[in-house]
């Protein structure tokens, strides 16, 4: 039941998704420049939280693409996966930069000390560091250079990265774990789908 959009639609659709994905950042910049009060009494915290939220949204969207593609048979979805993954990395960079700037005042030695001392920051930082090779090797050239199998093994790192991201969030909240829990459940479903698929393949192989 696979179906596809006309080829000529893909490029404009990509441009639309690309632009929409910049809206969260555009809203933050607009607020800083023209309407700081809209960011509330603690604008730096608002920016940190919003950019952090978007990292998790984009990670979950990225991870939802394969299940959605298989369930709907809409194979074009795969063409958007790299962009979503790169946006997760992009907002993670915004998030980390805001932290380094607003919280640690660009003092890198101070930041290094904090990262080692605070497990939740260490976990978030580890997730960011793991994202770097995935972002770098996201191009077609790198797929060819590494070979499909090795490339896809490397990019399985996105699973632990998503787990680390949610642990980072869970660990940070003072008391109300509603949202980290919701994200963890969504991630759980997305990972369980893959486990189920693999388990299914194996048992079929064993039966044959």
């Amino acid at each position: 039941m696979a179906y596809a959009l006309p080829k000529s639609w893909i490029a404009p659709l990509k441009a639309i998704v690309f632009t929409l994905s910049l809206v969260p950042l555009a809203r933050i910049i607009y607020a800083i420049v023209l309407d700081p009060l809209s960011l509330g009494a603690n604008p730096a915290e608002t920016i940190l939280h919003r950019s952090g939220d978007w990292v998790i949204y984009f990670l979950l969207i990225t991870l939802a693409i394969t299940p959605l593609r298989k369930l709907t048979g809409w194979n074009d979805l795969i063409k958007f996966r790299r962009m979503m993954g790169l946006y997760a990395f992009f907002y993670a960079s915004v998030h980390l930069l805001s932290y380094i700037g607003f919280d640690r005042l660009f003092d890198l030695s101070d930041m290094a000390k904090e990262i080692v001392k605070r497990p939740f920051i260490l976990v978030g930082f580890a997730a960011f560091v793991l994202l770097i090779p995935l972002a770098v090797t996201s191009t077609r050239g790198w797929v060819l250079r590494l070979g499909g199998a090795r490339w896809s093994t490397l990019h399985k790192a996105v699973y632990p990265i998503a787990v680390l991201g949610i642990v980072h969030y869970w660990w940070l909240v003072k008391r109300d774990i509603t949202w980290p829990l919701v994200f963890a459940l969504v991630l759980g479903v997305l990972l369980a789908y893959r486990g189920f698929k693999r388990g299914g393949k194996k048992s079929r192989a064993a039966a044959s």
């Binding site: 509330g40 700037g101 008391r175």
Partner: protein, 314 residues
């Protein structure tokens, strides 16, 4: 010539008097709906009505920083009874009925009594500008209106058995959405050692910015101890008990390794998950301000803790 008849509603459609008189509830409901619909919504619109207060200028040390804008101090609150996001209290707190209000004072006292908010408001009030440091490493400067807690305490005559004071906040699930969740062990309780409670800086607070407290800031009466982290400042107090043993506070129950009984502002003792060395004086972007021990009130209160290990008694 045809007479113009303007459309008259049927009798059954006319709003009953009691409904349109119940304006406050209607407006509160409408703005909640409005802010749900509107993108972002205005939290201020739903804020509770406040009334001007009569007071004198206080004598407590005044911080060199200017007071935080009222708009910010009344829209960025930790008041989990109304929700855990900072914007929730300003959005949700208008449902709390703060009139009539009484505070029951009992325990180890010679003259237990129940005192009405109107009696408290009739006492001599003063304004004090205090620094407010949250355990989350942000701070504000707020002009409070009220009186030293010791003034109230002397009315009930604590006995020699009174070693601590326990404050209990209101917990009404039907008026406070957060109380319907189990985010903390309700009702919110806080406590002070008796000498801390009787310290002249400990402020029984009835107002801010010259007016009665907005609901989201702990109306109609709260406690403020400026040298401690903000969570020590119990809001919307309904009970004050003088007790012989150190009370277990709501935040100690939630996480005793992170929130101690003393909770004195101290840059040398970090929260287990974050540093307390610096703070963000809102609405600044950068956390560039060095946190002061006892929030800058060391000259007044350090002697209370002479010989105590403040890292162990955090």
């Amino acid at each position: 010539m045809p007479r113009y008849l303007f459309p008259t509603p049927k009798g059954s459609e006319i709003t009953p008097r009691e409904v349109y008189l119940d304006r406050r509830r209607f407006i509160a409901g409408a703005t909640t709906l409005g802010s749900l619909l509107a993108f972002g919504g205005s939290a201020e619109a739903a804020a509770s009505a406040t009334e001007p207060l009569k007071f004198s200028k206080g004598t407590a040390p005044t911080p060199s920083d200017k007071p935080t804008a009222r708009e910010l101090a009344t829209t960025y609150n930790n008041y989990y009874e109304f929700g855990t996001s900072k914007a929730d209290p300003a959005r949700n707190a208008s449902t709390l009925k703060v009139k009539p209000w009484t505070v029951e004072i009992g325990g180890e006292v010679a003259k237990p009594r129940t005192i009405g908010i109107e009696d408290l408001l009739a006492m001599e009030l003063e304004e004090r500008v205090y620094r407010m440091r949250c355990v989350e490493a942000w701070s504000m400067v707020i002009p409070w209106v009220g009186m030293s807690f010791s003034k109230l305490a002397t009315l009930v005559e604590p006995t020699s058995k009174a070693k601590y004071v326990k404050f209990t906040s209101v917990a009404r699930p039907e008026e406070m959405p957060g109380v319907r969740t189990r985010v903390l062990d309700w009702p919110y309780t806080e406590g002070l050692r008796i000498d801390e409670a009787m310290h002249p800086l400990t402020f029984l607070t009835l107002g801010m910015y010259g007016e009665t407290l907005p609901n989201q800031n702990g109306a109609p009466v709260r406690i403020v101890t400026p040298w401690k982290y903000g969570f020590k400042n119990a809001k919307s107090i309904v009970r004050i008990d003088f007790v012989s043993e150190q009370p277990r506070t709501a935040w100690m129950t939630a996480g005793a390794n992170e929130y101690g009984f003393y909770a004195n502002v101290n840059p040398e003792v970090d929260h287990p998950r974050w540093s307390q060395k610096r703070e963000r004086l809102l609405p600044a972007f950068f956390a560039s301000r060095e946190t002061e021990k006892f929030n800058g009130y060391g000259a007044e209160v350090a002697s209370l803790y002479a010989g105590m290990d403040l890292a162990a008694n955090f």
